[in-house]
C-alpha cells in the first residue's frame, strides 16, 4: 500500500508542476502542442527514473559535502543519452524541442527528487517515486498542450478537431498564451483545493 502511495503521490497530490511549481521553464516552452509535451514528458521521466535509481544505489558512498555536483553528473549523463538517442530516432521532435532537451539537466524536478527522496530511500521506492513524478510531469505538460493546441490551432496531435468554422486564437500558441494558460490552470487547482477544504 505504501509503495503504491509513493508512486501515486506524484500524479496529483504532489504534482511537480501544479502543486510544487517546479520545472516551469520546459512546461511553458514546450506545451504549444500535445506532441511536444508528450515527448518532453517522456524524456524527463526517463532521466528522472534512471537518475533516482542510480543516486539511491550510490547514496551511502557519496560524501555529503559534494553530493550536488555528483548528482548533477549522474543526471547529465542520462540527459546526454536521451539527447543523442532522440536526435537519432526522432529528429523532428528533437528539433522542435531544441535547446530544452539538454536543459533537462537543470530541471529542478530532477535535482529536487534526488535531494529530497532518492538520497534518503532505497532503489525500489526511488524508482516508484521517479516514475510517479515523471508521469505527473508528463500529464501536466499534456494538459497544457491540449488546451493550447486546441484553442490556438484547433487541432490535437496535429489532427484538426474543431472544424473549418473555428477561428484559431493564435495568441495561445505564442509565448503569452503559455503564461495565461498556466496562470488559469494553477488558479483552477487552487479553487478545487479551497473547495475541498471548505467541505
Amino acid at each position: 500500500m505504501s509503495a503504491f502511495k509513493e508512486f501515486s503521490k506524484g500524479i496529483y497530490a504532489e504534482n511537480p508542476v501544479f502543486k510544487q511549481a517546479l520545472g516551469l521553464c520546459p512546461t511553458l516552452a514546450v506545451s504549444n502542442s500535445v506532441e511536444n509535451g508528450l515527448g518532453m514528458g517522456l524524456a524527463a521521466t526517463f532521466v528522472l527514473v534512471c537518475s533516482n535509481v542510480i543516486i539511491s544505489l550510490i547514496r551511502k558512498s557519496v560524501p555529503p559535502k559534494i553530493r550536488i555536483p555528483i548528482y548533477i553528473v549522474v543526471i547529465a549523463t542520462f540527459v546526454t543519452m536521451i539527447d543523442l538517442s532522440m536526435a537519432g530516432f526522432f529528429p523532428a521532435l528533437h528539433k522542435s524541442l531544441g535547446i530544452f532537451v539538454p536543459l533537462i539537466v537543470v530541471n529542478c524536478i530532477i535535482l529536487g527528487r534526488a535531494e529530497a527522496y532518492a538520497g534518503k530511500n532505497n532503489a525500489g521506492l526511488s524508482f516508484l517515486d521517479g516514475l510517479g513524478m515523471g508521469i505527473g510531469f508528463t500529464l501536466a505538460l499534456m494538459l497544457l498542450g491540449v488546451i493550447r493546441e486546441l484553442l490556438g490551432n484547433g487541432s490535437l496531435f496535429g489532427l484538426p478537431m474543431l472544424g473549418a468554422h473555428f477561428e484559431p486564437v493564435l495568441i495561445m500558441i505564442l509565448p503569452p498564451g503559455a503564461f495565461l494558460t498556466i496562470g488559469f490552470v494553477l488558479g483552477f487547482f487552487n479553487w478545487l483545493e479551497n473547495r475541498r477544504q471548505n467541505n
Partner: protein, 209 residues
Amino acid sequence: MELKSLFIISIGSIFINNFIFARFLGICPYIGVSKQLDSAVGMGAAVTFVMTLASTVTWLIYNYLLAPIEANIFYKLFSLSAPPDLTFLKTIAFILVIASLVQFVEMVIQKTSPALYKSLGIYLPLITTNCAILGVSLLNIDENYLFIESIVNGLSAGIGFTIALVLMAGIREKLELADVPKSMRGIPIAFIMAGLMAIAFLGFSGLKL
C-alpha cells in the same frame, strides 16, 4: 566583426528574444524572487554577472577542448591524426563548469567585497540550477557566435532578464494591495501578469534590424 552586428545581437537578446518572455528560460527565479524590488535588482545583477562570465568560459571550453577543429588542444598536445570530436560531452562539461564558476565567484566576492556578498550572496547558489545560464551557453554554440559575440549575447541576455524581473517586482509590490480572488492569489496572478507583459514584449518581434 562590426559594431553593428554586436548591436543587433544585443537588441535581439534584450527585447526581441527576451529570455523570460520569448524563450522561457529562468522562470523559476523569475516567479520566486520577484516579490520585492530590492531582491529583484540583486538577483538580476548576480544573473547578469554570471551569465557574461559563463558565456566567456563555455565558449573557450567548447572551441578549444570539445569541437573537432584545428585549434583543439588535445589535437596538438597528443599529435592525433585528426581533431577529436568531443561535442557529445557538451552538456556535462558546461554544467560542471557553470557549477564550479558559481562557487568560485561566490568565494571571490566573499573575500574581496563583503558588502556585495551580503547583497548578492544568497542568490548565487540558486544560480547554478537557473536554466538561463546553461541556456545562454548552449545558444551561443547553436548560433555559431564568435567569441566577442558570445560575450555580448551573455551580457544582453542578463540585462533582458533583469528588466523583466524588475518590472515584475514593481507590479507585484502594487499587487499586494489589490483585491485578487482567493484562488488566484500568489503564483497564478503572477503568471497572468507575466502573460500580459509578454503580449507587450511580443510587439518587439516586429522590429526589423
